[in-house]
Amino acid sequence: MFALIVQRLIISIPVLLGVLLIGFLLLQVVPTDPAIILAGPTASQAEIEAIRQQLGLDRPLWEQFGLYLLRVLQFDLGRSMISNRPVLDELEATLGPTFELMLACLVWAIPVGIALGTQAARQRGQWTDRVIMAFSVAGVSMPIFVVGLLLIQYVGGAGLLPFQGRGGPLWTGAGLLHVVLPALTLGAVFIGPVARMTRTSVLETLGADYVRTARAKGASERRVVLRHALRNALIPVVTLIGLQIGFLLGGAVVTETMYSWPGVGRMAVGAISSSDFPVAQGAIMVLAVSFIAINLVVDVFYGYLDPRIGQR
C-alpha cells in the first residue's frame, strides 16, 4: 500500500513540473509587460528598468523559471494586479467553497447514479431501464449551464431556494440551503455516466457464475443484487467516478460562475476577464494541482479496492 502511494507520488512529479512550466510560460507570453503595469502610466524608462531588475525579468528564461519554482515552493505566487494582495491570500479563501460544492455534489450524485444504474440493469429492456438510460443520455448531452439556467429559473425564481452566493459553512442552515441548487446542477451531469457504467457493469456480474450459484443457494433477490452483483461491479464504477471527479472541477468552474459561488473556478474566470494574470495563473494552477491530487487519491483508493493493482 505504502509503496503504491510512493510510486504514484513519483509519477505525479513530472506532471506537476509540466503544470508549473505551463503556468510559468503563461506569464511569459502575456502581451503586457508586468513591469510597465506595476510602474504605472507616469513611470520613466529608468524606473521600469529598475522594476524589471527587481522582478528578475532581465535574466535568461531558464533562470527565471528556476526562480519561479523557488518562489512557488515558498508558496509565493505573486500579487494580484488589481487588489495588489498576495495571490495566495486571494486563493486561500476560495478553496474551501469549491471543496464544499464538490462534496455536496458527490454526496447525492454517487448513490443516486449507482442506484439508478443497478435498477436499470435489473429491469433490462423494460420501460424503467429505457427511461433511466434516456435520462442518462440526456444528462451527458446537457451543457451544465442549461441545468443551472432551468434550476435558477424554476426553483430559484419561484423563491423556493437561494441561488446566489454561499450562505456560510455547510453545517449551518443557511449554508446548507445555499448549496442545494449548485450541488444539484453539478451532480446532474455526473449522474448520467455513473448510472451508465453501473448498468453495464452490473449486467456483466448478473450473468456471472457466482451470481447463479448465489441464486441456486436460495439467496434473496435483494442479497443477490446488492451483495453479489453490485459489489463486484463496483470497481469499474469507482474508476469512472475517479475520472469524472477530475472533470467535475471543470463543471465547478461553470457552476460557481452561475451561482456566484466564491470558489477557485469563479476566481479564475473573473481574473481572466479582468486580465489579472497572476491571479488567473494561480487559480489555474490550483485547479490543475487539485486535479492531480484527486487522481492520486483515486488511484490509491482503487489499489485498496482491488489489491491486485498495487502489485503490478
Binding site: I22, V30, V137, S141, V146, G246, G250, A280, L287, F291
Partner: protein, 300 residues
Amino acid sequence: MTDAILAEADARALEALRRKNSIIRRLLRDPPATLALAFLVLILLGALLAPWIVPYDPFANSMRLRLKAPGFVGPDGALYLLGTDAQGRDILSRILYGLRATIGIGAIAVLCGGGLGVLIGTLAAYYRRLDTPLMRFIDVLLSFPSILFGLALAAVLGPGLFSLCVALSIAAIPTIARVARGAATVVMQQDYMEAGRALGLGDGALIWRYLLLNCGSTILIYATLQLGQSILLGSVLSFLGLGAQPPFAELGSMTADGRKFLQAFPHVATIPALTIFFIVLAFNVLGDALRDALDPKLRQ
C-alpha cells in the same frame, strides 16, 4: 435451369450488398437514431443556408422591439417566431447564425485536433517504438479536464474565437488518436500491408495509401461524434465569456447574454441553451446507435 442459377446468383449478390449496407440499414431501423440523423441534417441545412433564409438581420438592434416573447407580431405585421433579445434582435435569425458559428467552431476543432490525433494514432500503430511514448502523452491529455485548457489559453491569448478553437482542438486530439491507433493496429495485421512492403513501398506510401485509406471510414465516424463533444465544450467556454465575444452570434454566448433577463424573459437564454442541448443529444444518440451497429459483440 439457367434461370434458377441466375436467380440464385442475383440473390447472393443482393445479400452481399445488403450486408454491406447493413450498418446504415440498422441505423434506419432504430427510430431514435433516425430521428437524430434527420434533426442533424435539418440543423446543418439551417446553418449552411442561414444567410439566405434568416427572416431578419441578426445584428440589427431595435430599441422598440426589445425582449418580445416568442410569436410576437410587430406593428408592421412582421412575425418574430422566437421573439427578440435585449437589443431587439430577432432570436430565430440569431439562432441560425449561431448554429453556423457553433458548428463551424466545432468542425474546425475536429479537423485540426482530429488531424493531429490521426497523425499520432497512425504513427503509434505503425512505428511500435513510438507507441508507448505517444500513447502515454495521449493518456495525460485525455485525463486533463478540457475546461482547464480553455481557461489557460484564454488567459494567455486573451478570450476569443482563436483561443477557443485552439483549446477545442487540443481537447479533440486524444479521442481521435485512440480511435485511429485502434483502427490502424487492425489494418497493420492485414496481408496487404505485408504485400505492400514486399513490393518495396516506403513507409510514407504504406501509411498514406494503405493504412490511412483503410482506417478512413472508422475514423470519420468517430470524428463526426467528436463534433458533438466539441460543440458542447465550445458552448460552455463561450458561455463563460472565454470564447465568442458579443455581438457575434454564438449559441453559448447568446445564452450568457440572456442570463441577465432570466426571471422576466426566460426565452432569451433558454432557446439557445436548449438548441445546444438537442444538437449534442442528437450526436450522442446517433453515436450510441453507430457504436452498437459497429460492435459485433453487441449484435444479436
